[in-house]
Symmetry: C2
Subunit: 320 residues, 2 copies
């Protein structure tokens, strides 16, 4: 099977079909129509086997994940996802693997009305790079900068669950039963907060997605905004499953330093709390927890009733 046959069979029609795709997979480039009075939003993320997911990961989960992590970046901007390109490097043209990958990619693409518009399939060590593109009304995008002193700090969902799921898969954390299944699922199938990100436009003063650990990513948000933050250990949302399998301290470590959450971390000025309440009241909105606030100064303080605690470092591809 050559590259062209492979693309024809597995990648020609992945995801949603959209009216704003003038030309999709199969030419030298795609032709796309960005709606008038909107900005284009573009991001890219690479997954390397053995670094971003264990070698045992199922092909359909890799396909899902490769788009999910990018949709999470678009969500953090408050953008509407529209198109994606896929650069897939595989060791061999394994049809079963390719079919699984395509199914996982297709499922999340269709769920978010994203069309695969281009790609490149090459041979080499398993590496997946997706660029996702979408749009946002002019000037309405959320950014990392914009948080000001006194803003309240929120996170969606249950940070740490996915990192604990990965630890279970890799045997670094023991555990069985329904809790194990729930946490593993959180790692295998991240759900980017796409709809909720759009509802945060005009509400959040700053926003980013959490992928490298809440503590580290919060450090980036406050650095971009030129402020500091206080994070209250007692307010961290810890899921029952995480608490049960990792214990209180372990759960906090996963929540603060684990990574792979793909939740939204955002700040809201107190005057806009009603707007946040409306966003949270929408059908399908995730749980949101206030975990601290923006302060003068720089950096992140993690406070508990026993004093300040160290902030776990989080994930970096070039450390360790």
């Amino acid at each position: 099977m050559g590259e062209f046959e492979l693309i024809d069979r597995f990648f020609k029609r992945l995801g949603a079909s959209r009216d704003d795709v003038m030309l999709g997979v199969g030419d030298d480039a795609a032709l796309l129509a960005v709606p008038i009075d909107h900005e284009l939003v573009a991001c890219v993320d690479t997954l390397v086997q053995g670094r971003h997911f264990p070698s045992s990961t199922r092909a359909d989960d890799i396909g899902w994940r490769s788009l999910a992590v990018n949709l999470s970046d678009l969500a953090a901007m408050g953008a509407v996802p529209a198109w994606a390109t896929l650069a897939l490097t595989v060791p061999a043209a394994d049809e079963e693997w390719l079919e699984g990958f395509a199914m996982g990619f297709d499922a999340i693409a269709k769920a978010h009305h994203v069309s695969l518009v281009g790609g490149d399939t090459t041979r080499g060590p398993l590496t997946v790079t997706v660029q996702a593109m979408g749009f946002v009304p002019q000037g309405a995008a959320l950014r990392r900068r914009g948080a000001t002193v006194g803003d309240l700090l929120y996170i969606t969902g249950w940070p740490g669950d996915a990192a604990a799921g990965l630890a279970l898969i890799e045997g670094r954390l023991p555990g069985q039963g329904a809790y194990r299944g729930a946490l593993e699922h959180k790692f295998r199938r991240p759900e980017p907060r796409v709809a909720f990100g759009q509802r945060l436009r005009g509400v959040a003063s700053a926003c980013m997605d959490v992928s490298d650990g809440l503590g580290q990513d919060l450090g980036r948000l406050v650095a971009a905004s030129g402020v500091g933050a206080v994070l209250r250990a007692s307010e961290l949302p810890l899921s029952q499953a995480l608490f049960a399998l990792a214990g209180e301290q372990g759960a906090r470590d996963f929540a603060l330093g684990g990574g792979d959450d793909y939740e939204l971390l955002f700040t809201v000025p107190p005057s806009r709390r009603a707007g946040l309440a409306r966003a949270m009241a929408t059908a399908g909105a995730p749980a949101c927890h206030c975990i601290g606030e923006i302060t003068a100064g720089r950096g992140v303080r993690l406070v508990s009733d026993r004093g300040d605690l160290p902030v776990p470092r989080g994930w970096d591809p070039f450390s360790g």
Copy 2:
């Protein structure tokens, strides 16, 4: 050096600075303004070490190449390049290598007024994926389909030179001196036909870039257009350097089956030959040679004065 320091040092301000970049490297995604009445043009290409370039390739040449191959795709659409994202997977944070890569990328980005707006830097086997984005007036893009019977078939430049340059580098072809240097340079520093691609709007009926071998790529153009083509072996432009080092037969094989040319292959209706002459008369326009014509039927015939010849297969990442 962590991922963030690395991005800050080497990748934060690569390429041109542009007014239509609302937000570049450093947030979750980039914010870009596509001009009104234009379509967005997007493409992606991956380079894997040892497959798309020899392991001995200099870092600056890899950086140049990673954007050049994408700009060539935009050129084939008649698009104006504007922005790029870079997904770089490297075995280690080697500062000298990263600096060289960044310099090569920056040089070609600035030459074509392209701004690097986002990226992802990860650790793993050396793999570079660039997505290039640009724009084209609504409805004006060149495509692979559109060639009709009787159209004349052209190629820019001197196909085969780059493939022979690679063969010299890899020791598969002997040769020394100025010819060797010239051919190696053609492989190391492809010059995408960006300005000329834009001049072919309204002139060419179909267009693509030649990267996998002229014979194979022409097969794709005629398949997309639902026509056939006759290619005249005697009309193939063979550079003096290629002819001298590879001989007549070898030169033809490189020109038809070699790949890595990044030249434009296009068709022009006879009624638009004056338009082509005007495009070719512009300053900086590449040499263009008429190498055949579009015919009824399907597939590519390679004709010579000794009868039909087999068309070399060209490059496919999943064959061999």
